[in-house]
Amino acid sequence: MSSLLEVRGLAKRFGSVRALDGVDLDVAEGSLTGLIGPNGAGKSTAFACIAGAEKPSAGSVRFRGREIAGTAYHRVAALGIGRTYQLVQTFADMTVLEAVTTGALLRRARLRDAIAHAQEILAFVGLAEKRYRLGRALTVADKKRLEVARALATEPTLLLLDEVMAGLTPAECGAAVELLRRILARGVTVLMVEHVMEVLMPIAEHVVVIAAGKTIFSGTAAGAVRDAGVIEAYLGSPLEHGEIAGHAP
C-alpha cells in the first residue's frame, strides 16, 4: 500500500492562533480516508494547507512522493488535488455548465472538448438537467454537487471533500454516499471531512482524528470510536458528545 498523500508535522498559525500544531496523516492511493475532529480542530485548515490555499507555517506535505508544502494554490490543482469548500464557493453568475467547463479547461486545451467533458461530469453527478441554471440559483445540496463536479472536471488524483453532506436531508445524504462510491470506482482517491460517523463507518477504510490542531488517532473508524483519546477529545467539547458517542457501537 503506497501513500498518495503524506502529511507530517503540519502546522499553521494565524497570528497567535495555532490552528494546526502537528498534523500527521496518510492517504492510501485509491482509498477513502475520513478526517474527523471536534469543531475548530483544524480540519478545514488542514485541507487549505494541503490544497495550497494557505501556506503552512511548518511541516511537510508530500503528494505522489513530491514535496508540495507552500506550492501555489493553482499549481497544486494542476498537480492533481481537487477540493470542495465547507462553505460552498460557487461561481455565482456562471451557469452550472460554465462552472464545470471552467474546471475541465485545466486538462483540455479546446473549449469544445472541455464543454463535452463537463457535460459528461454533469451526467455523472446527476446535474445534467440543471446545466443552464446559474450557480446562485441552486439549492444547497445542488451547490455541493456542483462543487464536486467542478473539482472532478479537473480530473484530480486526490479529491478533498469538506463536509459535503452537512445540511443535506437524509435522502440527499443517501444520494451523496452513492455518488461517493461511484467517484471511488472512477479511481479517484478521497480524503473527506465528515461529522456523521454513521456516514463514514461503512465507506472509510481509514480515519484520522485531529483535535486542537494535532493528530490524535489514525486507524479504522471502528477503532476511532473506541479510542480513549478520541472519546476524551470529543467529551472535552460537550456539543460534540452526542455526535460521536451516540453512534458508537
Partner: protein
C-alpha cells in the same frame, strides 16, 4: 451560446457606419460617429480588465496616450504613423505589465490605486520631458493619404474607427468563448474557487490587461491622426480615465455590448448638453452622468446591457427569482 446574433449585430453596425462614412457630408455628424466609436473602443478596452477580469482601472487614459504619443513621435520624426500602432501597443502593454505584475494577484484595491499612481507618474513625466513635448504636446504636420494616415475629410476616419471597433468587438466575442474568458469570469466570481481548479490569477489578468492596453493604444493612434494635436490634458489626464471607466460602468461591466451602449449614452448626452447650453453648459453633462451612475449603482448594478441580459435569463428561467436569489447577488 452561439455568437451568431452578435455577429449579425456587429455586421449591421458596420454597414450603418459605412453608410454614414460615405453618405453623410455633415462634419458634425461624422465627428459624433467617430467619437462614439472611439469611446466604444476605449470602453471595451477598459471592460477587459475591469469588467471581465473585475479589476477596476482608473488610469486607462495613459494607454490611450501611449498610442497618441507614439503617433506624434513617429510623424514628427518622419516615420510612418502606421509604425505607431505596434510601437504604442508595445509601450502600453509594457506599462500595463509593470502596473499589473505586483498588484493583479492581490486582494483589496491595490491594483486600482496603482493605476492611479502610474497614470499620475506618466502624465507628469510627459509634462516635463522635452522629447515628449512637455506641457505643449505636439502639433502633427499636415499630410494626406493612407500612407500618412491623414485625410482632408472625416469619412475615412470613420471607416478606420469602425474597423477598430469591429476588431475589438470580434476579439471580445472570441474572448467570451475562450479559456481566458472563462477563467476571467471565474476569477471575478470567486478567486479562491478559481485557483482551486488551477487558474493562475496573475497570469490571466496580466494577459487581459496587456490586451486591454493594446486596444486603448490603437484608439490613441487614431485620435492623434484625427485631431492632429495632442497634449497631456487631451490624452493622459485623470479626467479621461474617469470618463472611460464611467462609460464601462454605465453600459454594463463584463458584457459584450455594454461599452458601446455606455459610449452612446455618453456621447449623446455630451452633445445634447452642448447644444442646449452651449459653452456655458460645460460640466452639466458630467452632473447628469453622475446622476445616471448613482441610479445604476442603486437600482441596476450591471448597467444597461447587464439588465437586458438578466431579463433574458429570467425569461429562460435560469435565475431563481426571489429574495434568496437577490441576497446572493455579488456586490
Amino acid at each position: 451560446m452561439t455568437a451568431r446574433p452578435h455577429l449579425y449585430a456587429l455586421g449591421a453596425i458596420v454597414v450603418l457606419g459605412l453608410l454614414a462614412a460615405f453618405g453623410v457630408r455633415d462634419a458634425v455628424v461624422l465627428d459624433l460617429v467617430f467619437t462614439l466609436l472611439l469611446y466604444a473602443v476605449l470602453g471595451q478596452s477598459w471592460n477587459w480588465i475591469s469588467g471581465y477580469a473585475g479589476n477596476i482601472s482608473f488610469g486607462h487614459a495613459i494607454f490611450f496616450g501611449c498610442g497618441a504619443y507614439a503617433s506624434a513621435l513617429c510623424v514628427t520624426h518622419g516615420l510612418t504613423p502606421w509604425l505607431a500602432i505596434p510601437a504604442g501597443a508595445l509601450a502600453a502593454a509594457a506599462l500595463a505589465l509593470v502596473t499589473g505584475f505586483p498588484t493583479l494577484g492581490l486582494r483589496g484595491h491595490y491594483f486600482s490605486i496603482a493605476t492611479i499612481a502610474v497614470a499620475a507618474l506618466v502624465e507628469t513625466f510627459a509634462r516635463t520631458t522635452p522629447w515628449l513635448g512637455k506641457a505643449n504636446g505636439f502639433e502633427l504636420p499636415i499630410a494626406s493619404g493612407w500612407a500618412a494616415l491623414q485625410f482632408p475629410q472625416k469619412g475615412p476616419y470613420v471607416v478606420l474607427a469602425l474597423a477598430l471597433f469591429a476588431a475589438v468587438q470580434l476579439a471580445t466575442i472570441a474572448l467570451e468563448r475562450s479559456r481566458l474568458g472563462y477563467y476571467l469570469r471565474a476569477l471575478r466570481a470567486n478567486h479562491a474557487a478559481a485557483a482551486s481548479v488551477g487558474i493562475d490569477e496573475r497570469r490571466c489578468k496580466l494577459i487581459a490587461f496587456a490586451w486591454s492596453a493594446t486596444m486603448a493604444s490603437a484608439a490613441g493612434v487614431l485620435y492623434a491622426q484625427y485631431t492632429l494635436f495632442i497634449d497631456p490634458p487631451s490624452t493622459l489626464a485623470l479626467a479621461i480615465s474617469i470618463d472611460i471607466a464611467l462609460i464601462g460602468v454605465v453600459g454594463g461591466i463584463g458584457t459584450l455590448w455594454g461599452p458601446a451602449a455606455g459610449a452612446l449614452v455618453y456621447v449623446v448626452l455630451a452633445k445634447a448638453v452642448a447644444l442646449r447650453f452651449g459653452g456655458a453648459g460645460k460640466g452639466y453633462d458630467l452632473v447628469i452622468y453622475g446622476a445616471i451612475i448613482c441610479l445604476i449603482a442603486a437600482l441596476r448594478p450591471y448597467g444597461i446591457v447587464g439588465t437586458i441580459v438578466d431579463a433574458i435569463r429570467r425569461r429562460r428561467g435560469s435565475i431563481a427569482v426571489g429574495p434568496g436569489a437577490a441576497a446572493e447577488t455579488p456586490a
